[in-house]
Amino acid sequence: PAEHLHAALALGDDALVLAQRLGEWTGNAPTLEEDVALTNIGLDLLGQARHLLGLVGDEDELAFHRDEREFRNLQLVEQPNGDFAHTIARQLYFSCAQSLVHRELAASDSPLAGLAGKTVHEVAYHRDHAVQWTLRLGDGTEESRTRMQRALDALWRYTGELFDPVPGLPVDLPALRAPWLRDVTEVVERATLRLPSGPDRAAWAAGGGRDGVHTEAFGRLLAEMQHLPRSHPGARW
């Protein structure tokens, strides 16, 4: 009956962790316009996270008082920002998938359909932002092209997990891999780049993020994010 809560936790953790990463950009972006844009996308995701985690329990309890192995987010979203190209590649892979997922979810009879319906537009904007930058970087200068290709290659290994089934999510995730691949391929080729062809998941603990298996960078992200509330148990802010 409450199986959708499992899905809410998974999607909520994705949004929370990616918002946290985008928040690291604030004040460090290549242009003021990008400071605004990346923070804005981060804020949208934080809004999604608060809504989704709020369905599962107390949003702050969930965000600040769970240990690493209890987080259900994809390994993709926890990857460090790297250079701007890595951030854009992460956004491209994630938001192209999120667009497809939210569209199907909005059309479902899941209790999460309402949220998905409300976020379709913002997610489309996130995708568009990533697409535009993929084009500019891919078809920009020699340097930007090299960096963008390197970023697409480096993050590719985290894309397989995007389409592993999530219990409680009435979306046929494995079936979305093909349209996602078409979408991403079209963008990447338009950007005069090539989509990587290596394995799209690590050998160990495939689908790891959803099972609470993360990457080493995630522990540090949590240490920074959680330190203050953990230091003042019971305090309200």
């Binding site: 003021l32 923070t39 535009q132």
Partner: protein, 308 residues
């Protein structure tokens, strides 16, 4: 002479000077300098608060903080645009900031050491900024005045959020209360310095007043700030770190203690706690972003104006 008369008449009638209007070179230069310094303050001012985005103690506070810092980036954008209407370019102004030829508000050379500093900045620093800036909404230069209307509206929203955040701490656990008091103790005096040197030592004031760029003296505004803060501090349940602070019935104002202008001068000269850190980080963000800006230009050159 006819042009100058029109300009003077515009000022006398309290009307706005617009970009295409004739204006004295000194007026233009003063405005560019002031607007640029203001824009630089917005973007350098993102740093001390952004320092806490990843560590905000609740998701609600994190969202409020991100939105606030985002607004500051937005203010920077409006202000650089206003400066551009006077013939300056953003790149040129940023270059002056990065090379130390133009300043930003010294208040941002102080560190944010605890979460309570974010609240104290909202309450005190944004509070002082509003008092400085509200009169600028009536500044004689139209684009600047209009930018300030929008900015002041958002700043007063931020100021209330800062107050509310400090209040939550003040009414929280003893540790939280102490954290709030400590932050106020550290930010109070630097906030008073935000109004600039005492009137007696203020160099640009007279001309700026005549041009209706500036409307009140530094000491007038500082007094207004003190008068507003004292009852707010009481409402917060926090004290202000000035033993000489007391109501003066005769003046109808609060008296306050002497400000350490040596410290002010030191920070201005680059020796504040964070001057080097702030500029280094700004330069690093700019330099790290160079290849991205170049890529965007190269792409635009190939494909025409942005598709979005």
């Amino acid at each position: 002479a006819g042009l100058e008369a029109v300009f003077e008449a515009t000022l006398a009638a309290d009307e706005r000077v617009e970009p295409r209007d004739w204006m004295p070179d000194g007026y233009r230069a003063t405005l560019i300098r002031q607007i640029a310094q203001h824009a630089h303050s917005e973007i350098i001012g993102m740093q001390p608060e952004a320092n806490w985005i990843t560590r905000a103690p609740s998701l609600r506070r994190k969202a409020i903080l991100m939105a606030k810092v985002q607004d500051e980036a937005g203010h920077g954008l409006y202000l650089y645009s206003a400066a551009e209407t006077l013939g300056a370019s953003r790149d040129e102004l940023l270059d002056k900031l990065h090379s130390g030829r133009q300043r930003y508000s010294s208040i941002f050379n102080y560190p944010t050491l605890t979460w309570a500093d974010v609240g104290a900045i909202g309450w005190l620093v944004d509070g002082a900024a509003i008092i400085n800036q509200v009169p600028l909404c009536r500044c004689s230069y139209g684009p600047y005045a209009r930018a300030m209307v929008r900015i002041c509206k958002e700043e007063s929203f931020h100021q209330r959020q800062g107050f509310e955040s400090l209040l939550a701490l003040s009414q929280g656990t003893p540790e939280q209360h102490a954290m709030a008091q400590d932050a106020v103790d550290r930010w109070w005096w630097p906030s008073l310095m935000m109004f600039g040197p005492p009137d007696a030592d203020s160099t640009h004031s007279a001309q700026s007043m005549a041009w209706k760029i500036k409307r009140h003296s530094n000491d007038e505004l500082r007094q207004r700030f003190v008068d507003i803060c004292v009852p707010q501090a009481e409402a917060l349940g926090l004290t202000l770190p000035d033993p000489e602070l007391r109501w003066n019935d005769e003046r109808g104002h609060y008296d306050y203690g002497a400000i350490d202008w040596d410290e002010f001068q030191q920070v201005l000269r680059g020796n504040g706690p964070c001057n080097e850190q702030r500029l280094t980080r700004r330069r690093r963000a700019h330099d790290n972003g160079a290849w991205v800006r170049e890529a965007a230009s190269a792409y635009a050159a190939k494909h025409g104006p942005e598709e979005r």
